[in-house]
Symmetry: C2
Subunit: 608 residues, 2 copies
């Protein structure tokens, strides 16, 4: 953040129309990186107080406050660089998007520290925005090209209790895609031709039709999932059955036809988003890290408006695979695009350019458009909040991993402690500690990938049918009560829907929610020629030497290659024998790929 | 040509700096379309005299002559639209390329009709070009960004005997890629930064290093093959062993690592060209029609400098597959890109944009950049010239099809008549007619795909070993002598080199030089789920009902799809059975695809 100028950029307002005090020119979306950074630090401070870090954030907030204009407006670019273009292009520029991320940062920092300086700055800015945009005669019927502020406004409402913020969020959602189209109107006002829109169609920003008419995941995938998350927020707040139906319909469209097995989404670089149903190319998969982060946001919200473990199944799949792959094992390098197959010279992040120069596609330290790293940071720093939720006297346990948590249940402070090797092993021990015996329900999620499980309490096996994916254990819990959940966890050969042409004839290996891949480091090159026999053995274990101990799958494979090859590219099988050479393959979790020596990688493997 | 304004555009010079007499603004490469059109008509007039058509061409030539400037310069765009930019950007604009095509048209028209008006126009233009570019102090060391004129100059030398044209061709070839780099120099002179070159690297135009150092097919595939064709021309004229070695090396690189089984080449839309070795994606294959045409040019020239049937094998493969697929069966619609797999919404010609709107990829009437249709026309109109060649008293028979031809051999006019159902059947009857018994050699090509053959003369089987792919029959031929060549022609299951990851586990069906494909019209949708059993039967026959009678392959196939499918995109095989449903597939020649109802298509088919 510091090196790239994203902090100093806030000083740009100092001397409008004079030489700038910094050398680095910001981009139109830099404000958002500051917002995400503050948000991530806020979550971190909740678990790991750090006075020095907090001081840095306070200093950044001072800069941000000083950059606020007298009318409340707050934006580096359109204050310091192009003041004449304020609010001229909601479709392509990022003013409302930036505001959203700063609001989320402000709320998180307020919740973590109680400090309300940035919160008040963002309230002033939001109050100003609320005067500009709305249904009244003297207002503009605008909304952001890149959704984000809609979610943020709901959080601001939670933090302040001010319903105007909730209503503004609803306004932005409901105005989206209405005719006459705001993006046409503002284009004409700029003397621009709307048909010259770089991305050709307003599907790109989910503004091709009113939101309540939308039925499919479309356009830029991060914009899409932020919008859908906001819709779910509004359903939760306003009990809007129509928007609930929209949410379910789009969810089914996404998970039924447009999501990678890793939870990645948005196959195309050109629009950073969706193309058409069942179009899931592996090698060129864009599957942006931010889209995986956004899908986690959306999935969690879907559970809250439609309690069913199917949403958490997707959330868990995304967390363990397509999101985690975005960051290196050491946590210091990042993928923007997360392909499911990798081959030397193929770079899905540069796929549009046709320039194939990099020998291997690898994580990098930073991006010019650095949305992904701070987005990962704010999710990872807050991942604990995805493990549990409460509803009345029910404690939902969504995710499994070693952890300790506290919850208020039936008026009592209750401690929960999980001990498990999940996701490498299906045995989970949950110890309940309450100051005194307390009656409440523990609802344990039975993951969708699990076809058999056992539950016992203090060693007594329970009859425990799952309801919407959760086993409800209702009793008076005493200190030291131990729940043991045993999830049957075989290695599963996964196949894709028969309309996914890219995966035909292939399987992917999944064990628990974790999707595995073959890497050249373990299996040699030319992974396309590796095939897994239909009746081959395979076995999951923990490799203690690999990445501090992670699950691996080993088993029977064959390499199918011609015994000899004459000249040229094509030969008849009448002259060229294909040889099947057996070997033992080793698969590693997809999320850890590209952390060792560079080489090929492949999730979908031919089965013969 | 008329409708798009490519004829009227020649009137643009009429009133420089005044309102133009035409409404249609030409593009910088329109001159080349006129050149290719004249060339195609010239070939057609040789076989099919047509006074009306000839009159039209004469009128067009009058327009072209009138557009020539006093100094000899001739170019629509840089006379009528941007006179200030003449010769400012050889890298990106197309002045020398256009000149090349007009020269080729002029020579062909002169050869066909004896009329030399356009030839003289182009000589004047070329004489002027030769004063501008060259090694002398007062000359510029330029050469075209898009090769073409190098070939044309050799033809102009043949037509006129003027060695200056041959030397200018050699100069353009040898100056290419030299340092200091001409494209850098001219960019600086325009106050442009060479690093802003849209295509990033001079590999795009094969100018990244001197031609004599080049070892691989690279960059824009049409530019590449035109350059390589010119190099072969120079070898033929100048006996240049170094350029012969360059030709062989690049040929081996192309055919060993960068050519589709159809003879298509250049997988990427982004640079309309090559990427890296063994990168041959099928669905997004660009494989431009013009590149196939150019490969035919190059292959024929390679045979002449290195007589071996392996070049003609590639020429034949390209003619019957990747070139012919560029035009519809009716001859009126065209493909620019020739993918080897097609799926609704996927348009390889628009692949770069990420906009997937067309339901099916189909041939169209014309293109804005219409290089391909007239290029096809000039090849198809002249295809007869690829069947035979003579060398001393040897008549080479390269291709087989019903045809009649005349040749001068041992001072006699000899007639040759072929009767065959080739490529659907391997039996070829060749009748020789000479006015009197004449001693000469008939050299019959044994195609590389053929592993067994028989030759008889007047019913007597001959011992006929092939030398460099040709069986030489040396005797005194009498009128009515009949050669019967029988080529063993089984259906061959072709596999790709083990480094071609896209075809792993797949086979393509080839019968004779013809590559077959499955279309949805015959085999239903979801062709990715179709697999051919390793030991399945298949049979080639002629379907008299299809396209006036063409070869088809039928045989055993299975459709592999799950028996049932619950929600979602991914399921474990422990819960989802894959069912193998046998059916009889029908494959049609790839070149005829997309001539019936729209649907999927696939060349590479899974083998199980």
């Amino acid at each position: 953040m510091q090196i790239t100028g994203r902090i100093d950029a806030w000083k740009l307002h100092w001397e409008p129309n004079h030489p700038k005090p910094i050398k680095i020119i910001p981009d139109t979306f830099w404000d958002s990186d500051a917002g995400k950074f503050i948000e991530a630090v806020a979550y971190s401070l909740q678990n790991h107080p750090d006075a020095e870090l907090e001081k840095q954030i306070d200093a950044l907030i001072d800069l941000i406050e000083a950059a606020q204009q007298p009318d409340g407006y707050l934006n580096i670019w359109f204050t310091g660089i192009e003041p004449q273009n304020r609010w001229k292009n909601l479709r392509d520029w990022h003013e409302l998007y930036n505001a959203g991320h700063l609001i989320e940062g402000a709320v998180a920092y307020y919740n973590a520290t109680g400090k309300d300086k940035l919160l008040n700055v963002m309230r002033r800015y939001t109050d100003y925005i609320a005067t500009l945009f709305g249904p009244d005669e003297d207002q503009r019927r605008g909304y952001p090209g890149h959704p984000e502020i809609e979610m943020a406004l709901v959080r601001l409402y939670h933090a302040t209790g001010d319903e105007r913020y909730l209503n503004l969020s609803k306004y932005f959602v409901d105005e989206r895609g209405q005719e006459p189209h705001y993006f046409d109107i503002e284009a004409h006002e700029r003397n621009d031709d709307p048909s010259r829109f770089h991305f050709k169609t307003y599907h790109y920003c989910q503004a091709h039709e009113p939101v309540r008419d939308q039925k499919a995941a479309t356009g830029h995938s991060v914009r899409a999932a932020y919008l859908y998350s906001a819709i779910a927020d509004l359903v939760a707040e306003m009990d809007d059955s129509e928007l609930l139906e929209v949410s379910r319909t789009i969810w089914d469209d996404l998970t039924g036809g447009a999501m990678y097995i890793t939870g990645g989404m948005g196959p195309a670089h050109a629009n950073e988003g969706f193309t058409f149903p069942y179009d899931l190319p592996n090698e060129s998969a864009y599957a942006e890290t931010c889209a995986a982060v956004a899908l986690v946001f959306w999935a969690q919200r879907m559970f809250h408006i439609d309690p069913n473990s199917r949403y958490i199944d997707v959330m868990e799949r995304t967390l363990y695979n397509g999101m985690l792959s975005g960051v290196s094992f050491e946590g210091e390098q990042f993928f923007y695009a997360n392909p499911l197959s990798s081959y030397p010279h193929v770079n899905p992040y540069e796929h549009w350019s046709g320039i194939h120069t990099a020998e291997h596609y690898r994580r990098v330290d930073w991006f010019e458009c650095a949305c992904c790293p701070p987005n990962l940071a704010r999710l990872v720093a807050n991942v604990g909040s995805y493990f549990y939720s409460t509803n009345g006297d029910t404690l939902f346990v969504h995710l499994y991993n070693d952890n300790e948590a506290q919850a208020q249940l039936a008026g009592q402070e209750v401690s929960i402690r999980q001990q498990t090797q999940y996701p490498w092993d299906g045995q989970i021990q949950i110890t309940i500690e309450a100051a005194q015996p307390t009656a409440f329900t523990v609802a344990l999620r039975i993951p969708g990938w699990c076809h058999a499980y056992k539950v016992s309490i203090n060693g007594d096996e329970q009859t425990a049918p799952a309801d919407k994916g959760y086993v409800h254990l209702n009793r008076t819990w005493s200190a030291g009560d131990v729940i043991t959940l045993t999830l049957d966890m075989p290695v599963e050969r996964m196949i894709s829907h028969p309309d996914v042409r890219h995966d035909a004839g292939n399987i992917a290996l999944q064990h628990s929610p974790v999707v595995y891949c073959l890497e050249e480091a373990d299996n040699g090159p030319r992974l396309a020629n590796v095939a897994l026999p239909r009746d081959g053995q395979m076995n999951a274990s923990i490799d203690e030497q690999l990445f501090d101990g992670v699950g691996v799958i080993t088993g029977d494979a064959v390499r199918v290659e011609p015994r000899s090859w004459q000249d040229g590219l094509y030969q008849g099988k009448s002259v060229t024998e294909q040889e099947h050479t057996p070997f033992q393959f080793k698969a590693v979790p997809y999320c850890f790929w590209a952390n060792r020596e560079p080489g090929e990688m492949r999730v979908w493997l031919r089965e013969i």
